[in-house]
Symmetry: C2
């Protein structure tokens, strides 16, 4: 690789590329509501096509966001890249210092919904490949790029899409591809670059309670059933205040980490005090500390109420007996505990406890994945970090976050996956004032160029 | 009383008076949000002043809605009238067939927020007194009228106001007034006119849970405390799914009904099947039926979740771990169980169960009241019903609803109270499409005129 021309290109086109980054951020693309999704998919397709990729915008199901599929380059070696063009909802809007879809630069950071997750990552890679093609010539291997639009709502249609297009996700002779670069990654609190090779799974669902025909005057509560109480009681059977999930058979599907996994886990940095200070708490739940907390974070499943809604939620007193109540719950999953198992066990659990009136509505989910920490693509990513960041990266066995990695790794023949990106710990992804560090974006383009070079070797 | 001229006046001024009714309904006056409250108090004062009342708009506390106090007439006999000019919030707006603050007449009913509760009642009485004054001469006794603006949020400032102005609420020599006409009343499912002489009490409060500094990514749930779970667990300790309130000492303050009370209760109609069909349920809570259900409705306290809110409540999946969660709860109270006792016992209960992190915010409350069912004012109301409605009214010991009756009955020396109004069972008070039957309003004006005449005797 000829560094000088690559770097010179990035400097010469700095303003235009940054404006392009902003264009991506100006276009809302909220999977939860559908806002701007179609326009965003078109923008991604146009941009990839503009630098030479062969692009398809492929429907998933019904009106669901399409997958953008792009291919470029020749050779036996094949690299898969996974990104997503959708973002989390921007609410609560009043907590943003600048509007979520008007990218604003302050103190070396760019603020907008998606600045990091995931448009920042996507744009860094597009710009790096543009610079490679303009300065180094054709790609030295084949890149297949999958950019979906439902990651933030648990990718309900991605696995079905992968099943349908399984041939695209293998080499022409049916062998698995040589590696996959995942949608996120980056630096930790201490500035250490981190390579992550797995994710927890997730099962995201809603519980709906309905008790009477319509909201009643609350004076009738001595006789009329109340949906908010039904939901509260049902929820309280799912997890107790000792943080024990009470669903029969749930922990039967939780395997212990292997010795090899424990070794990688043990070497991972864990900033316990930093986390507690940032969250303003004295103790983690259950009082867990040290390596026990690390094991709990990565190898224990969770049951999390993400939202509650029922009856009167405005200011002051309204004496209403709610006819309906709803909870949003996500279960983070460890290997062996699949979304299908969770829904099945939860239905049985609710029925057993007398809550067959509570409806489960599955919104999406995916399995856990732990990929090969010693694969060649991991080594290539590590060498690129030594060259660009001048440091040996931390190897993280898996992330506590989730993603459809199983569908793009084990399911397609065992493609080794690495998360290597531009993120930082104060990026406030999923929160107001999401941001990315501009230096990370600029260094990230060079990193991706060097990675292309190293992965060739 | 000279009926013919009274009736002729109402017929002659029908359109103007109906337009006046609509003017009351067009003016929003939502105590929960403050919307329109000041303008509504001014409208009520202007209208009462216009027919000859001496009117004061008296502040309560800070920016809280004022009390409208009006006096007219001379004599040793004194009648207290209690109404309120505030209304419930109109939400959910999408369920209204016509806008809540644009009164609309369809099929003999007038639809608007407040059409029954309580502007319909207030306007009926104002118009009846106007007709009396124009056709019968001066009032035969003194009327003192208290119209407050916070009834729908549990009258947080009324009792303090009564304490401050206690002299106004007694006769000049300190004896109690002779009776009080309450803000609501009317007809049951079978068209029977009902006189009610008591109310349950209420204690309305919010529970607030706060767990971490800000909303976190839900992948951190294995370690970070969750406000929605804290709230769910705290709530589930308050009442179990057998509808038993689990607060220590709560039932110590629940007295059994006396034999006399049971006699009145037993004679009251109770349309069990009608209620179940309307609510679309097979059973009341606990499976209670018949007279046990009547006793439960009127002599058992409740704990009702009126609202729940936390985290992501919009469409689809947002993977957030909520920093805050809130429940609105109302406790309906029987004699002896006061709002002060409830707050005290609840605080101790939460602390005992490890929920000292849950904050209690009291929004308002009042005690239960059971007034004298055999008082002269009750007989006058009954005679008026025989004359106007041609029926012997049902005597109802108390309503399952609540109101500040204790402050305007026992507290001011034992003033006997009667609820006698124009309501009907499908008025949808506190719900979308609240309405009043226009025939009830018209008959109600005549009823009030006849009552004035009968109460003189």
């Amino acid at each position: 690789m000829e560094f000088q021309s690559f770097d010179a290109y990035l400097i010469e086109h700095r303003e235009r590329l940054l404006e392009d980054y902003k264009d991506f951020l100006r276009q809302p693309s909220v999977a939860a509501t559908g806002q701007g999704i179609v326009d965003m998919a078109a923008l991604v397709a146009r941009r990839l096509s503009g630098i030479g990729f062969s692009v398809k915008v492929v429907p998933t199901e019904g009106d669901a966001p399409p997958v953008v599929w792009a291919e470029l380059g020749e050779g036996d070696k094949e690299l898969l890249i996974y990104n997503h063009y959708d973002v989390q909802p921007a609410e609560p809007l009043e907590l943003w210092e600048s509007p979520p879809f008007e990218p604003t630069i302050r103190n070396g950071k760019i603020y907008a919904r998606g600045a990091s997750d995931d448009k920042g990552e996507l744009v860094t890679r597009i710009h790096a490949i543009e610079a490679w093609l303009k300065t180094q010539g054709p790609l030295p291997f084949k890149i297949k790029w999958l950019i979906e639009g439902e990651e933030e709502i648990s990718s309900p249609h991605l696995h079905g899409w992968v099943e349908k297009h399984i041939d695209w996700l293998k080499k022409p002779d049916g062998r698995p591809m040589d590696g996959c670069i995942w949608e996120f990654g980056g630096f930790d609190d201490k500035g250490r670059f981190t390579l992550t090779m797995g994710v927890k799974g997730i099962c995201y669902l809603e519980l709906h309670a309905k008790a009477v025909s319509h909201d009643l005057h609350s004076s009738l509560a001595a006789l009329a059933p109340n949906a908010a109480w039904r939901l509260t009681w049902a929820l309280s059977t799912i997890k107790n205040s000792d943080e024990r999930i009470l669903i029969d058979g749930y922990y039967d599907h939780v395997r212990q980490p292997t010795e090899d996994e424990l070794d990688v886990l043990f070497a991972m940095p864990f900033e316990e005090q930093v986390m507690k200070e940032k969250w303003q708490i004295l103790d983690f739940v259950t009082g867990v500390t040290g390596f026990d907390a690390v094991r709990r974070l990565y190898f224990q499943p969770t049951a999390t109420i993400c939202g509650l809604t029922s009856g009167w939620e405005g200011v002051g007193a309204k004496t209403v007996l709610p006819a309906k109540a709803m909870a949003k719950i996500d279960f983070r999953l460890v290997p062996n505990l699949t979304p299908e198992i969770v829904v099945d066990l939860l239905r049985k659990h609710l029925d057993k406890h007398g809550f067959n009136d509570i409806e489960i509505k599955l919104l999406g989910g995916y399995r856990a994945e732990i990929s090969d920490v010693n694969a060649p693509i991991v080594s290539a990513c590590a060498r690129a970090s030594e060259i660009v960041h001048k440091q040996t990266p931390v190897k993280q066995l898996l992330s506590a976050g989730s993603g459809p990695m199983w569908s793009l790794s084990s399911f397609i023949g065992g493609v080794p996956v690495v998360c290597a990106g531009i993120g930082h710990p104060n990026a406030l992804v999923h929160s107001p004032n999401e941001n990315a560090i501009i230096k990370n974006y600029e260094e990230g383009m060079r990193y991706f160029g060097v990675f292309i070079d190293e992965f060739t070797k």
